[in-house]
């Protein structure tokens, strides 16, 4: 994406993940920030040496490599003027403000396209740009509840619980990035830009579509099933030695046979209580109990490896340390390490897909806040010395 210019007005996770991907593939991404209203990640830990500060957070650094940072206070005329110049410079603008905010700043699509007619803009707010609830400020966690993810997270007979993290934030790029890339290609072919409205709520619902259809077609709502599956048994997370866990999923009767052999109880495969999937499903409690009695005697690595050798789906429930040491992720160079002026070895992650000809690359670590303000203004905008002094002396 070398030469593609991206102006990034986003914050927290969904938007920054989108611009991270573009930057990972070589686009020039300028993140507009300000300590007046810092990104949640700039003020969230962990922090290098436990010193709280916008440049010390390894959380921000994890999600924002390969970008430039321009510190602009949009409440000050010089900051706003500079942002508008950047809007004219850009090929793509990505923002996740509460709808209407950019219009107030004169940075909305209609205004920008007057001076930058083929601009591509992606707006990705919680609930979209239109509709009665559009103006409600949203955080990732409450979107998870609104989308319906909590309904599908719970044990039978208990309250629903919260799946981890702002789930919608990780879904939004799956729609936002293909849309931007298609728009960019379209512009290349036709010279036309466009504006795209992507509601994070609507994106999230796509990931629950089978459950939604079960309701609209069958008038049925099945939540709180724990780890059980309508297609597999045993299916779930089983206790292993040292208070660790292994996930196991047995779908077919052949897999069940292989499972029993691996367990050292090949005679169990023919046991009428468990021999077919409907039997296993009917006697699921006893089945899970029996599987657990086997797994608890072993490490999850042993369970995974021996079941995988037999062609049965199994995997260690890895914690963050396991993930950092995972040989597969290492072999795929999943984690990126870059030298950061404050953090030292700054860790981020590569794109989950490897392109044979134009792979994503770690070019530079996440920027310190405002690290590139001067560079951006002088290199990309050809600002006069006088303007530059004004910009940099401004409390931005």
């Amino acid at each position: 994406m070398e030469g593609v210019k991206v102006l990034d007005f986003t914050w927290v996770i969904a938007g920054p993940l989108i611009t991270k991907c573009l930057a990972d593939y070589g686009a020039t991404v300028i993140r507009v920030e300000s300590m007046v209203r810092p990104c949640f990640l700039r003020v969230s830990g962990p922090f290098k040496d436990r010193v709280v500060g916008p440049d010390n957070t390894t959380y921000f650094a994890y999600f924002n490599p390969n970008k430039y940072s321009a510190s602009l206070n949009l409440k000050k005329p010089v900051g706003l003027r500079t942002a508008r110049k950047l809007a004219d410079w850009a090929d793509i603008i990505i923002e996740n403000y509460v709808p209407g905010k950019l219009a107030k700043l004169g940075l909305d699509y209609e205004t920008v396209r007057k001076t930058n007619p083929d601009i591509i803009m992606l707006s990705t707010s919680g609930q979209g740009q239109t509709g009665p609830m559009a103006g409600i400020p949203m955080t990732g966690m409450i979107l998870v509840a609104l989308t319906g993810f909590m309904f599908y997270s719970g044990w039978p007979g208990e309250e629903s619980t919260q799946p981890f993290g702002p789930v919608n934030d990780f879904i939004t790029p799956s729609f936002g990035l293909p849309a931007i890339l298609a728009a960019l290609r379209h512009r290349k072919l036709t010279g036309q830009g466009q504006s795209i409205d992507l509601s994070q709520l609507e994106a999230g619902i796509q990931f629950l579509a089978p459950g939604i259809l079960d309701y609209t077609a069958n008038k049925r709502q099945i939540g709180n099933v724990g780890n059980s599956s309508s297609d597999a048994a045993p299916h779930g997370v089983y206790p292993c030695a040292d208070n660790r866990w292994c996930a196991i999923a047995v779908f077919s009767d052949n897999e069940w046979e292989a499972f029993c052999t691996t367990m050292g109880h090949s005679e169990m495969a023919g046991n009428p209580m468990f021999s077919t999937f409907p039997c296993r499903k009917r006697n699921e409690d006893e089945l899970n109990e029996m599987v657990g009695q086997w797994t608890i005697k072993h490490t999850p690595e042993h369970i995974m490896q021996s079941l995988q050798r037999a062609g049965v789906q199994a995997g260690v429930v890895q914690n963050s340390r396991d993930v950092c040491e995972d040989p597969q992720l290492k072999a795929r160079n999943h984690f990126w390490s870059m030298k950061h002026p404050v953090i030292g070895d700054s860790i981020s992650f590569g794109e989950p897909a490897i392109l044979s000809e134009t792979p994503a690359q770690p070019l530079r670590p996440a920027p310190c806040l405002g690290e590139h303000t001067e560079f951006v203004a002088s290199e990309f905008l050809n600002m006069s010395e006088q303007e530059l002094v004004e910009l940099l002396s401004d409390e931005s």
């Binding site: 949640f40 409600i136 400020p137 609104l146 789930v167 619902i205 579509a209 996930a247 914690n319 963050s320």
Partner: protein, 413 residues
């Protein structure tokens, strides 16, 4: 041009591990042709089913993620099927597949072969762990990928084993990543004139969903644990409630304030608590809020009156009143409540899709990519088994009716 990907042809060989990738491309107007084994793909056996009838033409999972695709049957592993597939490749832009690593090579359809036929072809492979590395041949369904990514460990509450979201998520993330990378390759093709090979790992697609768990381990040597209804990792060892009982269910609410309050602060709550006569000494601190200064005991004292307040009202009352006071309280929605949520209706999100064969229409979540100039195509139900065989083999590839009959007899199509 009417839609973003007009004129782009995609051959979709995937099972449920890759459905969504082709669906996203179809949402943008690409002609996505689902290629199934004669008799239908095994993934059609994935539930839930329409009216609980386990019929390959009634899988709701198949319905949900194969909208706007056309469908043909073809045994690509047979000699005749192989040759026909290469004919399709000549005219295609993109191939998506989710077979085990190495399978396409085994049947003589790896990227090198396809590229020799059509240098502009983009081939995207979706597997649990990618095409390389020590786990490349491991088999993994949703829960196994979630486990290996580090995400599952963080889900659920401390009193129970880790627990997944019961609608499979891992391969939706992988498919989303596949759509991104495929589009990246398509964009690059406009510069280079050549396609490329895209290798997607489902495991890698979910690692980042662990938010700051990896930075926490690498920076502090702390392993983030699952905490269910509570949020951890914000203050020092603080467990902050985020799921609260109310009069008719649950709402989601998290105290934020001070420098973290950029999105939605909690200060509006102070006045509300006062008006309700339930404020305590700690309620005032919401206005000048620094999460890092709280002890767990103080935090719980701050939470107590809020818990009382929420119990007095319904989800809807709390949502509306919260919005009026700019306090982010959000109902925990069931599917029914999602479908009835006025915002989605107002945006025309839902689409009634006609299923002629079932004698009915079904309400679907609509497209979420909304462009000012290039609207998403109207939703068309997923293809039946071999529905477009004649259209594609006869009308488009020019195979004779006689040849098609021969191939059907051989069980090639």
């Amino acid at each position: 041009m009417n839609s973003l990907l007009d004129g782009i042809t995609v051959l979709d060989l995937t099972d449920e591990k890759g459905f969504l990738c082709g669906r996203i491309l179809a949402e943008m107007g690409a002609d996505v042709i689902k290629v199934e084994k004669p008799g239908g793909d095994a993934s059609r056996k994935t539930g839930p089913f329409y009216h609980d009838e386990p019929d390959p033409e009634k899988s709701l999972t198949w319905f949900a993620y194969n909208l706007n695709k056309r469908g043909i049957t073809l045994d690509i592993a047979s000699n005749d099927g192989w040759a026909i597939f290469l004919k399709l490749i000549e005219r295609a832009d993109i191939v998506i597949e989710s077979f085990p690593a190495g399978y396409m090579q085994q049947i003589g359809l790896d990227y090198i072969v396809l590229k020799a036929i059509n240098p502009r072809i983009i081939m995207t492979s979706i597997t649990p762990f990618g095409q390389t590395g020590p786990y490349k041949d491991y088999v993994a369904s949703d829960i196994v990928v979630q486990a290996m990514s580090g995400y599952l460990y963080l889900c659920g509450d401390p009193d129970h084993p880790p627990m997944r979201i019961s609608i499979p998520q891992a391969y939706l993330h992988a498919s989303g990543e596949a759509a991104i990378a495929t589009m990246m390759a398509l964009y690059n093709r406009e510069n280079s004139g050549e396609g490329q090979y895209v290798d997607v790992s489902a495991q890698q697609s979910m690692v980042r969903n662990t938010v700051n768990a990896v930075p926490l381990w690498l920076t502090y040597g702390e392993i983030l644990e699952r905490s269910g209804a509570f949020r951890v990792g914000l203050g020092r060892n603080l467990r902050a409630r985020q799921t609260w009982a109310c009069k008719d269910g649950f709402v989601n609410f998290l105290f934020v304030g001070g420098i973290l309050a950029a999105v939605a602060g909690s200060s509006g709550l102070t006045d509300w608590l006062e008006e309700e006569g339930v404020s305590t000494d700690y309620s005032g601190s919401l206005k000048d809020f620094d999460i890092s200064k709280f002890t767990q005991e103080e935090w719980e004292q701050m939470e107590a009156p809020v818990a009382k307040l929420f119990l007095k009202y319904t989800k809807k009352e709390l949502f509306d009143e919260g919005n009026r006071r700019r306090v982010s309280i959000c109902p925990v929605h069931s599917p029914e409540e999602v479908v009835d949520y006025p915002q989605l209706e107002a945006r025309g999100f839902w689409a009634e899709v006609n299923h002629k064969e079932l004698g009915t229409s079904i309400k679907y979540p609509g497209s979420c990519i909304r462009s000012t100039d290039m609207p998403a195509p109207e939703l068309r139900r997923a293809p039946l088994i071999g529905e477009h065989n004649m259209e594609i083999y006869h009308d488009e590839l020019g195979l004779s009716a006689q040849e098609i009959t021969r191939l059907q007899k051989l069980n090639v199509i």
